[in-house]
Amino acid sequence: MNLYAVKAIYIYEMNRFLRTIMESLASPVISTTLYFVVFGAAIGSQIEEIEGVSYGAFIVPGLIMLSVMTQAISNASFGIYFPKFIGTIFELLSSPVSYFEIVLGYVGAAATKSLLIGVVILGTAQLFVDITVAHPLMMVTFLLLICISFSLFGFIIGIWAENFQQLQLIPLLVITPLVFLGGAFYSVSMLPEAWQTVTLFNPVVYLVSGFRWSFFGVADVPVMWSLVAILGFTLMCLAAVWWIFRTGYRIRS
């Protein structure tokens, strides 16, 4: 195991994050604050409580998840796409490193960054509403799994993408709508019955629901399903990464 290489990639990726620390942290903080102003204050005053939780607090897990998912994807995808784009990937390919070590470095760094952002958003939310975490251990487990699995997913997108447009495509066209429709800002039970059934096909519902359960003890779907969903997604991403490296897909001709 070439741990020096894992460390080199990790430090390098974290340096990239630190170089733009203001942008990296300011944008999720500002957008979270905006969500609070719009959803929490303006709409929340009309809704008051959902299943015994104030609306302002109710949307916090969904907000954290939205930022964590998009940040994990954009960081990890850019991290591996950029060397491909500028050509420095030659160094990765000619180094005595295994694919596993490359993934560990890139995905580890992207997961760390998104975790930090999640924590910062949670801190920001505390300024607006009072939040208690009912199941801290499960909260951390969910958060970690989401950081890791979506960083893996981002890594896959970064390998697949052949231009900057494709890099933006999945987060913009797939993740954001799924999160918005996945009960980040409402309880699934508030929907008409037909739509509730449709919603159950949205994988993000399970993630948001489980994560919210760890905060407030209320869930749209059983917690076990949520765990299965996030573990299943992680395994799918791992399998895809394994296949990419086994075949050299878009990396090594």
């Binding site: 290489a5 460390k7 080199a8 420095t88 000619s94 180094s95 295994s98 050299g248 001709s253």
Partner: protein, 309 residues
């Protein structure tokens, strides 16, 4: 002693069916400098990329330091340093960080003393805190070389190291190559410039259309390539080479307006002085004279034809 690089029938065919490298067999001895010459697209970079792990071989094997480049890639690649043809550098990092990254990637503990030594050797120490995008093209190339050297490779691949660099850097590069050779490092470089091969190589390989045509001792090859042509433009065209000049084996140029004289710069005498005297004696009036060294491309064409014959 076993060769440091041992290539056995290594070939590369891309998915689209293009055979970039026909089976190559080649051994390179420890501490040797091998120059690979060939026109663009000849397969030089493909050979290097395959040995370094950037592309996977389609068939055949290669050992570096006795380690198979595919089966035992870690041990093989640890010995290798690569300076790529294109300038590819992370633009936003300070120079010194890109060297630290390289050391780490090659599985080495951070060695600031080695980094300093390498940067000083390449006159980059003052630039260590500059971001690479702020550097000139020549400086960037120096950074690429520094990155390749800072993990103490035993085999160094230089892919067109002096393409588009200034005279000073080229001189520095040759000095570094000489220093590395003295330290026992094996160097494989590709180049367009025959002078470069002449200046630093021990052996020269010629690649064309994915095929390694020959690998030969430099001195022998240079002798074959050292032919020049003297072109004499005449004021008044002639129908044939004058009888008086038959001894010089002259060739008649187009329209009879010029005479071509082939000679070898490495011979004891070129015979030019005598030829010019003879021309005057034959009553010919010269309008202009100039010399041509056969270009590398012409030499390659010659070699390919020879190879086919």
């Amino acid at each position: 002693m076993q060769p440091i690089v041992d290539v056995r029938s290594l070939s590369k065919t891309y998915k689209n069916g293009f055979q970039a490298l026909k089976p190559v067999t080649l051994t390179i001895e420890r501490g040797e400098i091998l120059a690979l010459l060939g026109p663009n697209g000849a397969g030089k970079t493909t050979l290097i990329s395959t040995l370094c792990g950037i592309t996977t071989p389609s068939a055949g094997t290669a050992l570096v330091g006795g380690h198979d480049i595919v089966q035992d890639y870690r041990a093989a690649r640890r010995l290798i340093g690569l300076v790529p043809q294109e300038i590819t550098l992370e633009p936003f990092e300070p120079v010194i960080n890109t060297l630290r990254f390289s050391q780490g990637m090659f599985g080495q503990r951070r060695d600031e003393a080695m980094i300093e030594k390498t940067l000083r050797q390449l006159s980059l120490w003052d630039k260590r805190k500059s971001r690479t995008r702020e550097l000139s093209g020549g400086m960037k190339r120096r950074v690429l070389i520094a990155k390749a050297l800072c993990h103490r490779p035993r085999v160094l691949f230089l892919d067109e190291p002096t393409a588009g660099v200034d005279v000073e850097l080229r001189r520095d590069m040759w000095d570094i190559v000489a220093q590395l050779k003295a330290d026992g490092v094996t160097i494989i470089l590709t180049t367009h410039y025959i002078e470069e091969a002449e200046a630093i190589a021990d052996r020269v390989g010629v690649i064309n259309k994915g095929e390694l045509l020959l690998v030969e001792d430099k001195a022998k090859l240079m002798a074959r390539m050292g032919r020049k042509t003297l072109r004499i433009d005449l004021r008044d065209p002639v129908d044939a080479v004058p009888e008086a000049l038959a001894a010089y084996d002259l060739e008649l140029g187009e329209d009879g307006a010029s005479l071509l004289y082939h000679y070898d710069t490495r011979g004891d005498g070129t015979g030019i002085t005598r030829l010019l005297q003879a021309l005057t004696q034959a009553g010919l009036h010269l309008r202009d004279i100039h010399t041509d060294q056969s270009s590398l491309e012409e030499i390659f064409v010659g070699l390919v034809k020879e190879d086919a014959a």
